[in-house]
Structures are given as structure tokens and as C-alpha cells.
Symmetry: C2
Subunit: 375 residues, 2 copies
């Protein structure tokens, strides 16, 4: 649905200044290695068209998206910027056979993940008669994308296969970077070091947001900052050092007096135990407010934490506001769902997931307000 | 992000013919009561701009959305249709103070949920000097939206408060309609009957999709068909009688040989027990594929069910395809994620949720293909 000028009673505020502050903080941790930005999934749901230009103003020159479609959109965003600076755009899923010409047309660099992708890109490059930029993904422990160690060894032993390719980056991806003591980190580092030695003059990249905090040997020539840009804690075992980027507030549309033996919501799962008041707020699972928060979630009215009672509906939640002074919980009053007191990482944990998922599923019905925009 | 012409390796097919078939089946069950269509949340994520015109062709004249913004968009959709038929559009969240003029401008009918909404709408109607259409929501057991029984009784005893309002519908909403034996159903019916007697000549509506299957006394003058239109089972204790509306297929982008002691994916949660193969498909939680399906989900390759192993990533899932003949699981081969063998209600159950949530969170990166379009 196209979005009309908003009358939404729920507001998603996105602080682009905080995104830039997080970018700078991550760049500082990279000790001179380049800080690339991961803006896949429409900048984790926050709007690549708004986020990427701010990052460009802050000096970011390299971006990662997941798919060709995302790359095409991102290139058009950069081509529309004044002054236009040439950004380096990588497509993590690589070039599927038959899509190579689109990569050239939109100046996109595929991350080659498999032998078929490598060989197809090389074939097209030879046909064009000019070296074609690509990154090479070496799998060191995800078993998801990237050449296996034996495939990488085979490729390294046959340099002709890469002769037509301008290899601009060799990369891998950590599986457990958010657990700094996990043995996988060191294993993946050791494997990556050995494998990338086949291309010693090519810049290398191993770390994502959490990996940047592993520091030292892990950093190589480039870090790929993603979720931490958007304010999510890259170090789950420590206090979040990132600036908060998103806030969600909803306006109460109705307040209901309740008393036992009533129940609240679908399935009659919340029995009312005492005389009280229920406030209904127009945010539901169609807005990305997880149904897993049914009878477990919370919100804030000022400093007062109020429980989400009953099931999360498609378009609505119900909060027990019995203990809040009535003048603060009238129709039209705001409650805070995310940001401020309601840390996204905590909300996600209560919903049995991670903030990454919560962020990327926030829906289209919020009024989206961007603040902290650079001059 | 604006959507370019798609190169997506994941395809969401939406069968509008099945939506229409479901509409007709639900209408037949309503025994002459009107069958309204609920198209809130962008027709539960499937695209109101495509769904609503098909329903209109099938004879649907009344629609429900959740918010004013959705109503404005839906009115513009209907105004653009040839031949333009006047559809009756209800906004379930009602008219918040200050938005009344928008309702008039776009010919939207608010569902008045609370005394403040009733009194504000009446005030505006009196000022305009012409009766203004509205529905009245009487809460019979949700404690979410709608007048409490005592508020409804008070309103009934003061007919002047509604004098300026053209009351076109009195409605309520069932909390447990998907559990036909739940005592709440009969309680809500009894309450609704008593309350609506104050407005005996006004059409009444109590049932949603599941409620339509309660039949008989529950049907009144109108049913509000929602989730069942989109193929979700309105009778969870029985075989689904609705036509399947959506299918999701993803193309394998990579196949990896694996062996113990490797692990797959983030957190190294899936240990590989034997030599095998992992297929990576570009659908992840940013596409609405729930992270709760990590190590629990499944897909189909032809008739063969394959387990989702490791965690669901933002943009990718990994499937154990060891037991599938290799020629069926090459890069470019399709796997079925939803529809056909993979019933949406089953996938949702494995993810500890309901199909409603799965449907409304499907993301924007699929290539969306509409089939079954009327001539």
C-alpha cells in the first residue's frame, strides 16, 4: 500500500545522528582498517534511502547489501546524491548465472560464494575482455555461503580460474562473534589466515559488528558494521555502548475499566484479578510487535513500567495501567514501546529472539520520523 | 526502498482466485447475511490494492480496515476502479479527536469504540447539521475496544447522544471463536443480544472468520471475513476447508558438502553428524521467515521434506538436503517453503505462533506474483 500523509497513532523515530555516531565509534575501534556499512534488508528495516546518504556524509565509502535488487536500489540512491561520490557496493549473495550484466550496469561487486559463481563470473569477465571486480567469500565455519577450505585450496592452486577477475576483497564471516570466549572465533581466525594467504595482496575482511570488538588480529583491512550501526548491542555480555537509534511511541486509543471475573483479549488468556484499567494501543504483530510478547511484554508510561496483558492482536496491544495515575493514561496519551526505558535488546529477549529480528520486522504503519539529519 | 523489477530468488505467489473462492465459500455459510471483507494490514500483507478489487468483482460491498491511513488508501483504490462502485469502508480503530474531517473527505465510517469517540463524532455531526454514518462497537468480552456493557446501557438510556449519528452497524468481536466449545462464545452471544436490543433496527455483526463457522444465532446481519479469505484455517480443530492462497518458493544459491565435526550457522547450534550436504536459500527473518524456526523448520524439495538446520539468518536459511537426489538440489533449483506440502498453519505452529502472524510479517524482498486474476 502506498503510504499517505500519516495519521498514525504510532510513531517510529529513527535517529540518523545516532547511526552516524555509531559508525564513527565502530570506525575508531577498527584501528585504521576501513569501516564498511551493511545496509541490507533496507538498512535493517530503517530505510536505506535515508541511512546510506548519512553514512556517506560521515565518510563511509563501502556498503554491503544481500541481493542484486537491493544493490540496484542502493546504486540509484547514490547516483542521486549531490555531490555524487563513487561508493563501492558489494552484493553478499553473489551473482547468480544470467544476472552478470546487471552487476556491470549498476556497478555492483558480487561476493562470489561458490565455485559455480566464481567460474561464471570469470567466464563473463573473459568475454568482456576486462578484469571484473569481485570479492571472494571463504567459509571458515558457517557452512552457509562461501567456498569450503578444500574448494579454496583448489582455487588457489589454479590461478587461471581467477585471472580475469579483479579480486578486490577476500572475506569470511564469524559464527560466534557475539560470544568472545567461544572457541569458534579463534578457529575461524586461524582458518581465515591460512586461506587468505593464497591472495596476500588482496584486502581481507573477517569481522561483523560483534567481531569488531574482538579487536586485534581479527580486524584485517576492513570491518563490516551492521547491527551495531542501528543501536543494537554488539556485546551482549556487556552494557550497550551504542547510541540508541530507534524509539517507538504509541497513543492510547481507549481506556477500559475492568474487574474480575473478566478476561482480556483473544483466547481469554488474561484473567482480570482486581478492579483496574486496560489501555489499548494501536500496535500489533502486523506492525512487527511480536505475538510472543503476549502476557509477557511491557511498555512505559513516563517512568512507570506497565505489563502487556492478554494476547498481542494483529493491530492492537492491551496494557494494564491500573497502577498509573489516571491523568497519564487517557486516550491520546503516549506510551513508550521501544527506546528510552524500553531497550530493544530487552524487548527482543522477552520475545525469545534477538533485536536483529525485531528491528527488521517493524512494519509500514508507523509514522516514520527521521531526526538527527546532517545539514 | 522502492522495488525494482525483481531479480529475487524467492517468489511469493498470491492466488487471487483462491481469495475469491474463499470469499464465496464464506458468503455461502452466512445464510443470507452480508459478507464483509477485512483488508486491514494491507490485506494481511498480501496487498489491498490487488485483493480489494477482486473482492469487489465478486460482489463484496463492505470492507474493514484498522486505521484512518488504511481507509484513505483503500478509498483511493476504489475511486480508481472502473466501474467505480460505492464501497462501504469501516475503520475499526475509530475516529480520534481531530481526525473527523478526514473521515468525511474520504467517505470513511468510523467504528466508535468508546464514549469519547461517540461524543466527539456526535459533536462534529451536529456542527455539520447532517446525520453522520458510524458503527458502534459494544465490547462483550475482549476488553480491548468497544463500550463496556455499563457504558452501552448508559448510552442507550440517553438517545440524544446518538441523535446526530446515522448508526449503520452495531458490532462486537468474539475472543474465542476458533474454539467452538469455549464457554466465552455463548456468553458473548448472550451479552451481544441483550445490548444490541437497544438499537433493534440497526444491522448487527458479531462474527469474524472463525465465528462464521459457529453459524446459526451468531451470524446476525453481517459477517466480517478476514483471515479465512487468505487461506488460513478458521477451524483449527478440523481440516482446512479454505483454498490455499499463498505459496513461497526459494531458489538454492549454494550447496555445501559438510562433515563432522563441523557446525552450521550462527552460534554453531547445529553439529553435523555425518557426511552430507547443506543447501542455502535466500529467505531469512528479514523476509518474515521466523527465527523461531531455527533448527525446527522445514521445506520441501518436490515431495521430500528437508529439515531447516542451524539458525535462521537475516537473509538466509540452511537446509539439510543430504537425503535428496543431488540433481534436485543444485544451485538454481527451487525449494517450497509455503503452500503445497508446506501448510501455512503447520509452519506457524512449528514457529510457536499462528498463521496470522506469519502472513502479516512476510517481507518486501520476494518477487510477488499474482495469479488467478479475474478477466
Amino acid at each position: 500500500m502506498p503510504r499517505p500523509s500519516s495519521h498514525a497513532d504510532s510513531v517510529l523515530t529513527i535517529d540518523l545522528g545516532a547511526v552516524v555516531a555509531n559508525y564513527r565509534a565502530l570506525r575508531d575501534r577498527l584501528s585504521g582498517a576501513e569501516c564498511a556499512a551493511v545496509v541490507k534488508a533496507d538498512a535493517y528495516g530503517l530505510g536505506a534511502a535515508r541511512v546510506a546518504p548519512e553514512l556517506a556524509s560521515a565518510g563511509c565509502r563501502t556498503y554491503f547489501v544481500a541481493t542484486l535488487d537491493e544493490g540496484i536500489v542502493l546504486r540509484s540512491i547514490f547516483d542521486g546524491l549531490q555531490p555524487a561520490g563513487e561508493a563501492q557496493l558489494f552484493v553478499l549473495n553473489g551473482a547468480n548465472p544470467g544476472t552478470e550484466e546487471e552487476f556491470y550496469e549498476h556497478r555492483l561487486i558480487p561476493v562470489l560464494n561458490s565455485e559455480p559463481q566464481v567460474d561464471a563470473w570469470a567466464t563473463v569477465a573473459r568475454r568482456r575482455g576486462a578484469p571484473s571486480a569481485a570479492a571472494l567469500h571463504l567459509d571458515t565455519g558457517m557452512a552457509r555461503l562461501g567456498l569450503s577450505p578444500s574448494e579454496a585450496d583448489a582455487l588457489a592452486s589454479e590461478p587461471d580460474r581467477l585471472a580475469a577477475i579483479d579480486l578486490v576483497l577476500v572475506m569470511s564471516h564469524l559464527a560466534c562473534a557475539d560470544q568472545p570466549d567461544h572457541a569458534m572465533n579463534r578457529q575461524q581466525l586461524t582458518r581465515f589466515r591460512r586461506l587468505r594467504d593464497a591472495w596476500p595482496s588482496t584486502p581481507a575482511s573477517l569481522v561483523n559488528s560483534s567481531g569488531i570488538f574482538l579487536g586485534g588480529d581479527y580486524l584485517f583491512d576492513m570491518g563490516r558494521a551492521g547491527v551495531a550501526l542501528y543501536g543494537i548491542n554488539p556485546q551482549p555480555d556487556q552494557t550497550n555502548s551504542m547510541a540508541q537509534v530507534i524509539h517507538i511511541k504509541g497513543k492510547i486509543i481507549q481506556v477500559r475499566d475492568v474487574d474480575s471475573p473478566m478476561t482480556v483479549g483473544y483466547g481469554a488468556t488474561h484473567p482480570v484479578a482486581r478492579p483496574g484499567r486496560i489501555a489499548t494501543v494501536p500496535v500489533g504483530y502486523a506492525d512487527g510487535w511480536p505475538r510472543a510478547l503476549s502476557n509477557r511484554g511491557f511498555a512505559y508510561v513516563g517512568d512507570i513500567r506497565v505489563p502487556l496483558v492478554g494476547r498481542v492482536s494483529m493491530d492492537l496491544i492491551t496494557l494494564d495501567v491500573t497502577d498509573v495515575p489516571p491523568h497519564l493514561v487517557q486516550p491520546g496519551c503516549e506510551v513508550e514501546l521501544l527506546g528510552g526505558h524500553a531497550a530493544i535488546d530487552e524487548v527482543a529477549k522477552v520475545a525469545d529472539t534477538i533485536a536483529y529480528e525485531l528491528l527488521t520486522r517493524l512494519g509500514q504503519r508507523y509514522e516514520r520520523v527521521y531526526v538527527g539529519i546532517s545539514a
